[in-house]
Symmetry: C2
Subunit: 463 residues, 2 copies
């Protein structure tokens, strides 16, 4: 069983533990949320304004130098394609700790659960199926006594609820996906310096000033599909629209059209592509621009619009074509081509870039139209589709700027894929059904009932 091997890159942090601290200056609080001391929080990396954006999928940890206490839970957002995990780990040298970010393919749900299992054991060992039941039950009881629990959101929180509960043996608290997205976004926008930025080719990654009044805004979350959420205030939101043309569409089509086998390989290909080899531009149709309605000759009139034509061209002779009056039907008129022949006529890089443009532009246009209708000026783009990829961000930014004539602005986040899981992480609640709206007061009372230390802590001492 491959389960026995530790994951290739799995860090083994100190065990999350209970937070019994009282609020402090710089403590991040919101109704029902765990207290995270964000004083002096910073993102652990070397990005600086104007520097090229990070490697696509390389998500930086967030150092919390003053958060001394530990956290009794881990949070996961299980989407259609990716499961995003957030957990806290202490600094071995006692300088606070950090938030860790990891993602797994949802397809590999078992890898995710093994990893969570290890986090709870504070070791590389997992509860193996063949392990005897009583031992497993003992470990699970201990976890519950320690107050360990999982905050889960996204569709997978429901689809895999029983599996998670059974394998880990702790409470799984399910949180509403949209709610978590906006809680997470609010946290990043208000609490984490150098998290939010604007992007353009001319001006890559300009960090945004954190604004006191962030509402209202539009959140466009691009995962496998796209959700558009109008946010009017904390906990005040409405899903106003979406699109089925999202990351899943790009990843799916490029799996069939290129040899790329990962999202990042696909984005890498797009970087070296020329979309004009497959896209039909206004200039290809008009021979010039269409000035009267302000369409430049370089505007993309039809994504992949050159492909049908080029696919059915007889490469040996353009002149020697039959006179058949066709109706898009070329089979009887020129030597028929197979899909294999046709694909050979196009570069994978060009196809990747064209599709990335098409989907990003489309999302940008729909986002603009929704923002226009709901009179929203600030548009935040989140979700695992973006991955800090500069062409993607540039296209989304440009679409918003173009359609809104500069009246609306696109914002991005360095942890764009983790809004939901961070939101779930912050929505934690203690074990005994504790009404959120009284959180702070209750939290202090509640603290008394709970162990002040978790297994990991003991382990630390023993070590």
């Amino acid at each position: 069983m491959s389960k026995r091997q530790p994951p290739a890159t799995a860090a083994v942090p100190s065990l999350p533990n209970i937070n019994t601290s009282r609020p402090r200056a710089g403590t991040f609080e919101r109704p029902g949320s765990v207290r995270i001391n964000v004083q002096g929080a910073f993102i652990v990396d070397d990005d600086t304004p104007g520097s090229p954006p990070r490697q696509h999928s390389d998500t930086k940890d967030i150092r919390l130098p003053y958060h001394k206490t530990q956290v009794s839970h881990i949070a996961v957002d299980i989407g259609g394609s990716l499961a995003k995990l957030v957990y806290f780990s202490r600094d071995p040298n006692g300088n606070g700790g950090k938030l860790n970010f990891k993602n797994f393919e949802t397809e590999r749900i078992n890898d995710l659960i093994d990893f969570m299992d290890r986090l709870m054991n504070g070791s590389e060992s997992v509860l193996l199926p063949e392990q005897d039941e009583s031992t497993k039950e003992e470990i699970k009881r201990k976890r519950r006594r320690d107050g360990l629990h999982v905050m889960a959101t996204g569709g997978g929180a429901h689809k895999f609820y029983d599996k998670l509960k059974d394998r880990l043996g702790v409470e799984i608290y399910r949180e509403d996906e949209m709610e978590c997205l906006i809680v997470g976004l609010d946290f990043f926008v208000t609490e984490i310096p150098e998290e939010v930025f604007t992007y353009s080719e001319a001006d890559p990654m300009q960090f945004a000033e954190s604004r006191a009044a962030i509402y209202p805004y539009l959140l466009v979350n691009i995962g496998s599909g796209v959700s558009m959420i109008k946010v009017s205030g904390p906990q005040q939101f409405e899903r106003i629209g979406g699109s089925s043309l999202g990351g899943g569409t790009l990843w799916g089509l490029l799996s069939l059209l290129t040899e790329a086998s990962s999202f990042d390989e696909m984005l890498g290909m797009a970087e070296h592509g020329d979309n004009t080899a497959v896209d039909m531009l206004v200039g290809d149709i008009y021979g010039t621009d269409y000035g009267r309605i302000g369409l430049k000759s370089t505007t993309i009139a039809s994504s992949f619009g050159k492909v049908f034509k080029k696919s059915h061209e007889d490469p040996n002779s353009i002149a020697n074509k039959s006179n058949a009056v066709t109706d898009g039907n070329t089979s009887e008129s020129i030597p028929p081509t197979t899909a294999v022949d046709r694909r050979k006529r196009f570069r994978q890089e060009d196809i990747s870039r064209s599709l990335l443009y098409a989907i990003s532009n489309n999302i940008g246009q729909i986002a603009y139209l929704q923002a226009q209708h709901h009179n929203l000026e600030h548009i935040y783009f989140g979700g695992s589709f973006i991955r800090g990829h500069h062409q993607t961000m540039n296209t989304l930014s440009y679409a918003i700027k173009f359609w809104s004539k500069g009246t609306k602005k696109a914002y991005f986040l360095r942890h764009e894929g983790y809004l939901g899981s961070v939101g779930a992480f912050l929505r934690t609640q203690p074990m005994r059904g504790w009404g959120r709206r009284y959180s702070t007061g209750e939290a202090d009372r509640e603290a008394g009932f709970r162990p002040t230390m978790g297994k990991g802590e003991k382990k630390k001492e023993a070590a």
Copy 2:
């Protein structure tokens, strides 16, 4: 030279001739347009309300039983993928005549020009390159004396202007594309019975009552790309938006992903497909619906959203997957697959249906958002993407109904691909720079200067 063969399906109508008639009851007039006697006009086919829609690309002629005189021009709308031709031909038995509709791939511009050449000669002979220059010049001079001319619109009217003029030797009048689209639509809506219809699976092809007050409306023209035009009155219009995800995108991607070699073959495949084999539904993510925000489990969350996952599955063993913490990168974890392997895992029919849904839904949503912003109730869908295909129309209708909560309505046309060419056909003007705004009066004066018969007419008598 294949040019010598007549086109497979090329009819040889009597030569278009000059229209010197005075207005009559039932005569269709608009400033600057040729007079077409539309009295008793009807579409030549057997479609009846409720009957299955016509074969996709089979465009019915329009009989004009009372239009005795002839027409000195042919009209063409040359788009990015297709060139749409409209011309008048007389009924050999003298019962008026009819409007004929034909399309060619723009790629085959020479076939189009040969066909127009034959129309002007009223015979199968064309002006061959090897024909001696003086003969050719004589024929061309004759054509000009006869007042033969071409009304051209679409991007190709500009791109191929010189080629058309040189090969045919007659005046090529270029008309604005958007203007022609709405002139053509107005003609169909107001003058042709049983042309406009609504569509739904439950209620296929319900002909719409022709409305006296047709303005304002939104025209969504779907060719290679998509144009959205707000029409407030005759000649009053504005292109308010569009999309690069149109017919060209469907035809291009399906050329690479299926063995279909014509637009109709692609639509035929879609009819036998099951999109849920490639699309990720809300139910696939949640295991159920997402009631709180009103997403049914059958809603498409991500078009092609299942493909990446299925593409990289190890078919031999699901359990035996590595624990590698991946980031959408599976190459190191399971036996790598090639694009060829991956494509084998999906049916071409399912891919076709998914893509047809994705593009139609997307156009429907953007059309709704534009109609909402501009407060337009009636949305007409035109263009060669539709081709009378019931899934396409059903998807567009459903999208408008769904997003507008039934407040807006989608309309279709049986000549949806010919709005621009019919518009150009109606925008004709006599030879000597004749200001449109005085058309009627001028027309009567003008008539005197023009031959009352064209070559074709003489030919008829001689025969």
